[in-house]
Amino acid sequence: MTAMMQTRDIDELRRIARKIRLDIVQMVGVGQKGHLGGSCSSADFVTALYFSKMRHDPKNPAWEDRDRFLLSKGHSALVQYAALAEWGYFPREEMKRVKVFGAMLQGHPDRLTTPGIEANTGSLGQGLSIACGMAAGLRIDGRDSKVYCVVGDGEIAEGQIWEAAMAASHYKLENLVAILDRNGLMTNGPTDLRYSSSPIDKKWAAFGWHVQDIDGHDMGEILGALDKADTIRGQPKMIIARTVKARGVPFAEGRAEFHNGIMTAEQYAQACRLLAEEPAAS
């Protein structure tokens, strides 16, 4: 069995990432709270994973040899929903009814309602531990699948993250790749001012992880880091992706209030227009 067609074309991946951001904006909509910021900051590496790096099959979400994706920062579910819908894990129509009564797409990822969701995350700090257990289970079975787990830079204040960091290192979970969305903002302001998690790279290195630090919006750097991670043996891998919260939505970029903010009709129209436009040739 093989995965669906994946691409190494960076322009194509950028185009998909824009589409995913547009989907995110449309899922948030007008006058409703929605996790715009963290969903958009993760959009580029989530695109790289789903459309280039990962082995997966939307026609068979339970394929045993798939790579696993866990969104430990579960509040950014919209970015994963957009990627899954784009692949056809469920009809795109579902994105029109997010977080409403009876919706497949819940406020946080729910494996029982949504095809392609691996675990229920959203109580922060737990997803990385679940990812570790998956990596350990895959290793017992001798499968070469990898586990990708996205954690937030606010989330790593949770003590359990560091329990998981120790466990991954102790058990040398080389099939585990974590991506830390270093957007620098927690709900109410800059992490470095309100509750610092710096220096992040030294912390992970001290816990025994292989650490890379990249521009989380540079598709080439993202793909390079994911490939580099494959070559590292005997330890779990951390990719610190330096990002901008709400990247791609200019009025919201880098603003903490759009962590779970509300767009006006005007802002919404502007965001849709900018994201729908063809980008200038790069």
Partner: protein
Amino acid sequence: MTLQNPREIYGRTLVELGAENPNIVVLEGDLGKSTMTCYFEQAFPNRFFEMGIAEANMTSFAGGLSLTGKIPFTNSFAVFAAGRAYDQIRQGVCLAKLNVKIVGSSAGLSDFGDGSTHQTVEDLALMRAIPNLTVLVPCDGTETRKMTRAIAAFQGPVYMRLTRSDMPAIFPENEEFVIGKPYLMRDGGDVVAFACGQMVSKALEAADMAAAKGISVRVVNVSSLKPVDEPALRAFARGMRGIVTAEEHSIMGGLSCLINYVFRGSGLRTECVAIMDRFGQSAGSQDELLAEYGLTPRHICAAAEKSLSK
């Protein structure tokens, strides 16, 4: 009566299961020589995970293992397995209906020396309140073995509460353990005593005491607190004139709450033997604590007498 150690039997049963099923994996929070997962570690080192003193991570990690088809058993003292990891059990395991078996050892007052920090008076309340979670308490070593095997075969999250102490062997060898089923341990005609864990054998002793006073006590082992066959519980009370509950747990949220709920409006007087909203404390023996907290056969007998008074 033969004494059995449920921890010892649990540890040996895990090894049996491990030999039968390669998907059985065991996680331990640095208490393997007490929870007796040390036997599994010796037998199947590649399927044993020392998780250190980090119960939260152990629980979520087990969830991840279950998502690859493994049947993980997490182990610690009940106070940590259920309490420290409450949010992981709720959010990661039960919301997602993951096939994780959470085994809380040294529950109730059975870790008498270590005192209140290590004694669980509220784990059943916490665990019963979580949707999707099956909550079980074996009454002796025999039932521990049967229950351990049953939960390995069962698909879904389970909390199993084990005691540290030796317990009299009372569960019939030839009886199958079925999740949800209450078991008649002794028949009687005046009062029905619903008990769980080691309070089942205390209730049997109490039934002897009551018989000497002319009161016939039926003893029912409610080893499944959730789910439980409610019609079966009601059938056990049919023709009775009083109800007693007995548990080594707080009066809040455990067996007494279950029984009071099932028999709401029945008109039967229910007397509860439980820990009255207090923490535990250190003592030189568990019996000292059971006496202090009112959890002895004498207390159950008195409750039976009281349940008959108008």
